[in-house]
Each structure stands twice: as structure tokens, then as C-alpha cells.
């Protein structure tokens, strides 16, 4: 071990910043890498809020209920002990954010307000206007800057993480990264590395994500041996606003605050929405799911919208669009509760949502799957041991993962406002874990010879060289567009094995083409085409993982839906009815077969898929998800 152990953190969104705080507070220094100034990270796009049971709304909310909602919301596919800690410690996370000075919205008494979100029945979501993620990110950024001022944090902003440096035993001992100004590759020593590199929805071309959320770092550690889990589970947010560059998100808070989703009842109705009388509007979520109405979980809402548009042909003007209507709510109320998002709709669509219903459609949003991470179970509490080197450890010793790039907590579907929570919480846990790991290394962890680092750096320089000199004629920007089109066509909300086979075939061709690019930019200075061409190769690789996992899972669970394998809840039948009992028996048999994690290993011949049991020790699955 070097004289002063160092920990590298890749990614400066909420996960990376919380990990940084934790590592510094436990006495170690951090080298923090990011593609851009960390304050611009994608966490800033989260709008609606962060879940924690504060029980300030007279609803007898409980941490137990938060645990149950999260587990059921994820269709039982997440390991349950870590969820217990996530929900237990959520109020503490919120209190800490409060102390950091986050401008949480207040009640008239000056306490934190809480709002309703999807998949739950209690008001449990703390928020700061409609820019909660931005506010939480900035507060964390400020605290990390405070540590930077004290010399404990060194930032490498505008650096692209390229690879891990592994020793002969496969232990992570550092990284290589590329300076995005002069395009030079450098190696960095570290005793532990945490990747907190966010989501991957750019694989779908247009999504709700920032233009840097490519998943490339996850693909890079995956190729070096880190296992990837539950890749098929991608959340499609029901209320996206379609655009050329991205599908901007209209927060779930719109529905939480009373927004209603509808289409005209009559196919081909071209009337102005304001002229369509109430009884000629089809509020399909309210009709189909009276108990939760418009606040059903995201997977349920997205499928319902696709059903109405694609199968019942009731999309607005025959297009892939439905109405999200706020016009029945008072303007003042909307401006207070949803100001930021309304402003965004006005800016980008040019209409006022207080006056006219918004037009929305599901958009690729969040990856529940990601880098597989471990946890140390606490047999006494049934949760996870709070501080342990196994928590959030990947399958590469010395490498940790936190935030959206890991696979934990959300199972087959994430509940709204649980991601700001899991990003912050998992960053904290991974930071603690990395420190515990480094402390346990001892003196026998001899310093690695420079030649190991040199050889990894040279390898990465050669990859750059190959991309720069290749003249196969392919345009990396066009390849990305094609990848997105393909993923949105056949690996979207509704999937079929036929479509997925087609997708895998198409991805195979793209993969091969991605190694035959010709870059229009030959400069060695700030060459965005070079870094993009490499990221496109990585996106194609993860696209293949997602499609392969989806192809192999012959069932419906959470966000993963194949009509052919759907177990339908008998209409109008509930617990106690023989027809329902029959359905439940089938549901249990299906769980016996499919309630397991998909675990993917990278091989030269493509992704190799295995399965692993889920830890169900907190809430055994004895009731199907039912939001009617």
C-alpha cells in the first residue's frame, strides 16, 4: 500500500459526491474524475423529489411501508436487506441535506413539505420546487468544494475514464483516463476505485437523459470482468415530451399533484382538446386502476399508454401522444408546486400547461439494472451491515459501484423519487465500504511496478490510435442514431422474442461497423469525435447486453413486458375468488421459475447470461402487485 492511500471516484453526480464526502470524512484523499465540471452532472435533471418517511401529513406513514412499497414496486426483483437500510436511513439523508442548506419547499409552519408520488398511497416525497435533483446536487457539490478547499479532494474535470488497471490477481489498482483537452491518456494509482457514473439511456438515442449518460464507464469495467446484472430492466417514463435531441421529462409530480392522463374516446377525433367534453374523454388510468388512478407506478402507466395508442389507436391525431392535463388545477397552485417543469414545457413546446393539456409519450429513462454489487447481510436485523467492505463491492476486488450505474434497490421497476435517495445513500455506503476495504489491505499489498500502469496506458493509446486512423467510412454519430432507432423499435415498452432477435441481429451488425469508423475530426485537441466514437462502441456493447437479457427472460416483470408471457389478473376478481386463486397459483409458479437476477459476464463471444437467487428475506413474495 502506498504511503498515503488514495481512492479514485469516477463520476461527480449525487452518488460520486456523497462517496467523496464519506471517504474524506474517514480521513482519506479522493481523486474525483468527471467528463465535465461535476456541478453539471445529470442528477440535476431529477425534478420531483426524494422519498423519506417523515410522516408530517397525518397519514401514519411508516418506514415499513416505504420498504414494502419499494420491494413491491420493483416486482420483488431487488435484494431486500439493502432496501431495508435505504428506507431506514432515508430520513437521516434528508436531514443532512436540510443541514447543507437545500431549499426544500416548506409548509406554512416552515417544516419540509411532502407530496404524493407514484406507486404509494402516502405523501412521502420531499421536494425543492420542481428542481429537487439540481438542489441536492448543488448542496453536495458545495460540501465537496469545501473539502477541495481543504486539500482532500483533487478534481479531474473534463477527463474521460477509460479503463481500470488490474494487477496479476485481477485486483483493481488504479485507472487510466483521457484528458479531453489534449486527448492525452494518463494512468492513475489508487487503492480502491468507485464508479458512480450514472445511467445509460443514451443507448436508446433520444431519452430523458443528458447527452453524456452513455453508460460507457459501466461497459468498460464490464469488459474488464465486472459482472452486469438485470440489464433488461429499463424504466420507460410514462410522461416524456418528444423532441429532436431528447425526450424531456414531465415530472411524475404533475400526476402526484393532480394531473390527469387522457385521450379522446373516439378514434381520429381531431377537435381541440379544450372543446372535447368531459364524457368524451377517456381517463384510462383512472378507469383501469381506480385505487391508484393516475399515480400507478411508471411501468404500469407506460404500458397503459402504449396499449391505448398502439393497440386501441386512440393517440392524439393518430400519433404516439396522449394528454397530460393540469388545466383543471388553479394556476397559482401549479406555479408554486410545479413552477420549474411548467417553465420547461413553455420553453421547449411553446404552450402554457396551465391553459392547454400537455402532449406526452413514454420515454427511456432509468436503468434499474447495472453493475452487480454485493452486500454484507446483518443476520440480526435482516438488513445490511452499515459499514462493510463487501457493501457495493463489484465482482472486481477493489472496485465499487454506486448510484444508477449499479443494479441494487429498484429490482424490475423503480418508484419515483427513490433514485435521488438511492444515489445519495449508495454513494455514502460505497464510500464507507471503499474505506473499510483500503484499511483492511495491510502492508502485504505491495506497490505495483510502474510497468503494469504503462502497459494499460499504452493499450488505451493504441485504441485511440486505431479509432483515429481507421478509414472504414462509418460515422459514429450516425451509428448512435441507428442504435437508438433500433432499441426504441424492438427493445422498448412492449417486447417480443421475434423483435428481440431482430434487435440482436441489428446490434451485431452495428458492433462490427463501429470498428470501421472514419472520423471527420483529425485534431489532437479537444476532439469530441474521438471520445464519442469510443463511447458508441461501448453503448452498442451494453445495448447487446440489454437485448440479450430481455430475449432470455420469458415472462413479464416490472418494466420488462412480453405480451406472449403475460399473466393477466382476472378482471373484477380479487382475493377469495377461485379465479383469482388460480391466477395466484400461476403467478407463484412463474416466480419459482423467473424470480432471479440476470447476471451477465463479458466473453469474447458476447454476453454470457446466468441467473442468481434474489434475497427475499424481508418480504417474501406472497401477493402479486396489484394497483387496481
Amino acid at each position: 500500500m502506498a504511503a498515503k492511500p488514495r481512492i479514485i471516484i469516477v463520476g461527480g453526480g449525487l452518488g460520486g459526491l456523497w462517496a467523496t464526502m464519506r471517504v474524506v470524512e474517514r480521513g482519506f484523499n479522493v481523486d474525483l474524475f468527471s467528463l465535465f465540471p461535476v456541478k453539471r452532472s445529470h442528477s440535476c435533471c431529477a425534478q420531483g423529489g426524494i422519498n423519506a418517511v417523515l410522516d408530517v401529513k397525518g397519514q401514519n406513514d411508516s418506514i415499513h411501508q416505504h420498504i414494502v412499497d419499494t420491494i413491491k414496486g420493483g416486482d420483488y426483483l431487488a435484494d431486500q436487506p439493502p432496501i431495508r437500510n435505504l428506507c431506514d436511513e432515508a430520513p437521516g439523508v434528508i436531514r443532512t441535506f436540510d443541514r447543507m442548506g437545500v431549499t426544500f419547499s416548506r409548509t406554512p409552519e416552515g417544516i419540509m413539505d411532502q407530496r404524493l408520488f407514484g406507486g404509494v398511497k402516502n405523501k412521502r416525497t420531499a421536494f425543492a420546487g420542481a428542481t429537487t435533483g439540481q438542489q441536492l446536487l448543488y448542496a453536495s457539490d458545495e460540501q465537496v468544494r469545501r473539502y477541495e478547499a481543504g486539500g482532500a479532494v483533487t478534481k479531474y474535470e473534463s477527463w474521460d475514464f477509460l479503463s481500470l488497471v488490474l494487477d496479476e490477481n485481477g485486483v483493481c489498482r488504479g485507472t487510466t483516463a483521457m484528458d479531453l483537452s489534449n486527448m492525452q491518456v494518463r494512468e492513475f494509482r489508487a487503492d480502491a476505485v468507485i464508479v458512480a457514473t450514472g445511467g445509460l439511456a443514451l443507448i436508446y438515442g433520444r431519452s430523458t437523459m443528458s447527452s453524456n449518460s452513455t453508460g460507457a464507464p459501466a461497459a468498460r469495467v464490464f469488459q474488464q470482468g465486472a459482472k452486469f446484472a438485470n440489464g433488461e430492466f429499463i424504466q420507460f417514463h410514462p410522461t416524456g415530451m418528444p423532441g429532436h435531441d431528447k425526450n424531456r421529462l414531465m415530472s411524475e409530480a404533475c400526476r402526484g399533484e393532480g394531473g390527469r392522463i387522457w385521450v379522446p374516446r373516439k378514434e381520429g377525433d381531431t377537435r381541440d382538446p379544450l372543446e372535447i367534453p368531459e364524457d368524451e374523454r377517456f381517463y384510462f388510468l383512472e378507469e383501469w386502476y381506480p385505487a391508484y388512478g393516475n399515480t400507478v407506478p411508471r411501468d404500469v402507466a407506460s404500458r397503459a399508454i402504449c396499449r391505448v395508442v398502439r393497440h386501441m389507436k386512440l393517440g392524439i391525431g393518430g400519433k404516439d401522444l396522449v394528454y397530460l392535463d393540469l388545466t383543471h388545477l388553479p394556476r397559482e397552485f401549479l406555479e408554486t408546486k410545479l413552477g420549474g417543469i411548467l417553465e420547461m414545457y413553455r420553453t421547449f413546446f411553446g404552450e402554457d400547461p396551465c391553459e392547454r393539456p400537455m402532449q406526452i409519450f413514454p420515454a427511456t429513462h432509468y436503468s434499474m439494472g447495472g453493475i452487480w454489487v454485493d452486500f454484507e447481510k446483518d443476520e440480526q436485523t435482516g438488513g445490511m451491515v452499515s459499514v462493510h467492505a463487501r457493501n457495493h463491492a463489484t465482482s472486481i476486488p477493489g472496485l465499487y459501484a454506486a448510484g444508477e450505474c449499479d443494479f441494487a434497490y429498484h429490482g424490475a421497476n423503480r418508484l419515483g423519487a427513490n433514485s435521488l435517495l438511492s444515489a445519495s445513500f449508495s454513494g455514502q455506503v460505497a464510500g464507507d465500504a471503499a474505506v473499510a476495504y483500503v484499511k483492511g489491505l495491510g502492508k502485504d499489498n505491495a506497490e505495483l511496478p510502474q510497468s503494469v500502469y504503462d502497459s494499460e496506458r499504452k493499450k488505451q493509446e493504441e485504441v485511440n490510435q486505431a479509432v483515429m486512423t481507421s478509414d472504414g467510412g462509418e460515422n459514429p454519430f450516425a451509428l448512435h442514431r441507428e442504435l437508438g432507432d433500433l432499441m426504441r423499435e424492438d427493445v422498448f415498452v412492449e417486447r417480443s422474442n421475434e423483435g428481440l432477435d431482430r434487435a440482436l441481429d441489428g446490434i451485431g451488425k452495428l458492433k462490427e461497423r463501429s470498428h470501421r469508423v472514419s472520423l471527420d475530426d483529425q485534431s489532437s485537441w479537444s476532439n469530441q469525435s474521438l471520445s464519442w466514437a469510443r463511447q458508441v462502441q461501448d453503448m452498442i456493447l451494453l445495448g447487446e447486453v440489454i437485448a440479450k437479457c430481455a430475449r432470455m427472460r420469458d415472462e413479464c416483470r416490472g418494466s420488462h413486458y412480453k405480451a406472449e408471457f403475460e399473466l393477466k389478473i382476472p378482471e373484477g376478481k380479487f382475493e377469495g375468488d377461485p379465479e383469482y386463486a388460480e391466477y395466484k397459483a400461476k403467478w407463484k409458479a412463474n416466480n419459482d421459475k423467473w424470480l432471479k437476477h440476470t447476471i451477465v459476464t463479458h466473453t469474447a463471444d458476447g454476453p454470457q447470461v446466468d441467473y442468481k437467487p434474489v434475497d427475499l428475506s424481508v418480504l417474501p413474495p406472497d401477493k402479486p402487485r396489484d394497483y387496481r
Binding site: 465540471p37 443541514r99 447543507m100 437545500v102 438542489q135 429532436h244 471527420d520 479537444s526 469525435s529
Partner: protein, 249 residues
């Protein structure tokens, strides 16, 4: 509505080479903004003379006007490119990099100065650490929260700095955005315990007295942050601090 989108873009291959103008034409379709159009041009890097050129380099991330990355000068106004809708702009659309920051390439500049300023003015609430102490911060009145919220949305995008006549290469002036952050943290119930340090950071050379009261900053701020209110409040606080320093210490 024209069937084409025409851009005139100020380009520069690197910090030490000279700048040049290049014109681009692309097909029009409704709903484009400057970033989505630049994405099209990146995939089709051909200028209006039909010559293949190097793809334009620019900065962007969130594409929904919350990250602050894509600031540039569009038809003479510093603003976020993602929120600049093509159909609302006069053509040819003239794009230039921010001029008050070191140029990296084309439309991309280095705004490290702004982050350095946040460090200098200690724009944070001092706390023991990120662990839970089982207590909230003190209560905050909804009205106070609303005012603080205006300032906590500052994206460090640099538009106010670009528009400020006092902020430039040959001046030490810290600029409007960091002063807004001093105000934000000085108004927090526990953040104000450390107000002296922040005030000292904006007193003296390059500090708040360098503000020439041109009020350009509020006009260009994409988030309508009332920066001049903050400058007025912090101006009063620094005066009081100056007197305290003189007589009390």
C-alpha cells in the same frame, strides 16, 4: 417559415489559432433548438460551400436548461443553446463562444474561473460532516425559502459574467454569480454563522465595489435570478462588516 436553417458560426481550432467564420445550412423541421441543430451538423459536417469540415465542438449536457453547460452567444445574446428555439430566432443564426472566458475550441470555453470564485467566497454551509445528527436544520419561513430558491437555481452558466461590463480579462472583478451565492449562504439560518468569511472574500480588490451597476446581469440570466438585489444586500452587509472591522476589532 424558411425551409432551411442557416447558421453563421465563429470557429477557432484551438486557443492559440485565429478565429474564422463558417456558414452552415441544414433542413428545417419544427421543434429544433440550437443544440439539436448542432447535433445534426455534427453528423453532417459540411459547410454551405459544400466542403467537408471538422465537426463543430461545443459543450452541452442536460439539454433542458438546468445544467448550465451550453452557454454561448446566440444572435448577440449570451444564453443557453438548448433553450434557444430555432423558430424564435432571426436567421442567419449567429453563434459565438462566450468571450470573457479562455477559449478551448469553437464554441467551447473554460469557465473554471467561476468555480474558483465559488471556492474563494466559501459558497457552502459549514458543517461537521455528512453524517446524520438526528436533527433538521432550523425551520425556514416559506417566504425566506422562496427567495433563497431563486438563488439556489444558479447554474454557474456564465451568462451574467459575459454580459457584465466590469468582468473581463483585465479586471479582477469576481462577477455577479458568485455574489448571488454569497447572498444565498448568508441568508441561511446556520450558513450565516460564516458570513464574515464570505463578506471578506468579496471586499477589497475585485470585490463587490467593482460592480458598475450596469444591471446587464439580471437581463440575461436564463433563470431570472434577481442578482442586483443580491448585490445590493451584500453591498450593505460589506459596508457594515467594514465598520465592524474598523471599530470592533
Amino acid at each position: 417559415m424558411s425551409k432551411e436553417i442557416v447558421f453563421k458560426i465563429r470557429r477557432q481550432d484551438g486557443p492559440s489559432t485565429s478565429a474564422y467564420w463558417e456558414e452552415f445550412r441544414m433542413p428545417h423541421s419544427p421543434g429544433h433548438n440550437v443544440v439539436s441543430a448542432l447535433m445534426y451538423l455534427r453528423e453532417h459536417p459540411v459547410n454551405s460551400r459544400g466542403e467537408k469540415v471538422q465537426p463543430i465542438v461545443w459543450d452541452s449536457n442536460c439539454m433542458e436548461e438546468v445544467c448550465g453547460a451550453c452557454s454561448m452567444i446566440i444572435n448577440d445574446v449570451p444564453r443557453q443553446a438548448c433553450a434557444a428555439l430555432i423558430d424564435e430566432l432571426e436567421q442567419p443564426i449567429v453563434l459565438e463562444p462566450l468571450s470573457k472566458f479562455p477559449l478551448i475550441r469553437d464554441l467551447m470555453v473554460d469557465r473554471q474561473k467561476m468555480f474558483d470564485a465559488l471556492l474563494k467566497v466559501k459558497a457552502w454551509v459549514p458543517m461537521d460532516g455528512s453524517w446524520d445528527i438526528h436533527r433538521h436544520a432550523p425551520l425556514i419561513a416559506p417566504d425566506d425559502q422562496s427567495i433563497r430558491y431563486l438563488f439556489s437555481r444558479c447554474m454557474t452558466c456564465g451568462c451574467c459574467m459575459e454580459a457584465c461590463p466590469q468582468f473581463h480579462e483585465n479586471s479582477a472583478f469576481i462577477g455577479p454569480a458568485p455574489i448571488g451565492q454569497v447572498d444565498l449562504h448568508n441568508s441561511h439560518p446556520t450558513g450565516k454563522y460564516a458570513r464574515e468569511g464570505r463578506l471578506h472574500a468579496v471586499m477589497g480588490d475585485g470585490g463587490i465595489t467593482d460592480c458598475g451597476n450596469a444591471q446587464n446581469c439580471v437581463q440575461v440570466c436564463p433563470k431570472d435570478i434577481p442578482l442586483t438585489d443580491a448585490i445590493a444586500r451584500i453591498g450593505r452587509q460589506t459596508t457594515a462588516q467594514w465598520l465592524r472591522d474598523l471599530f470592533v476589532k
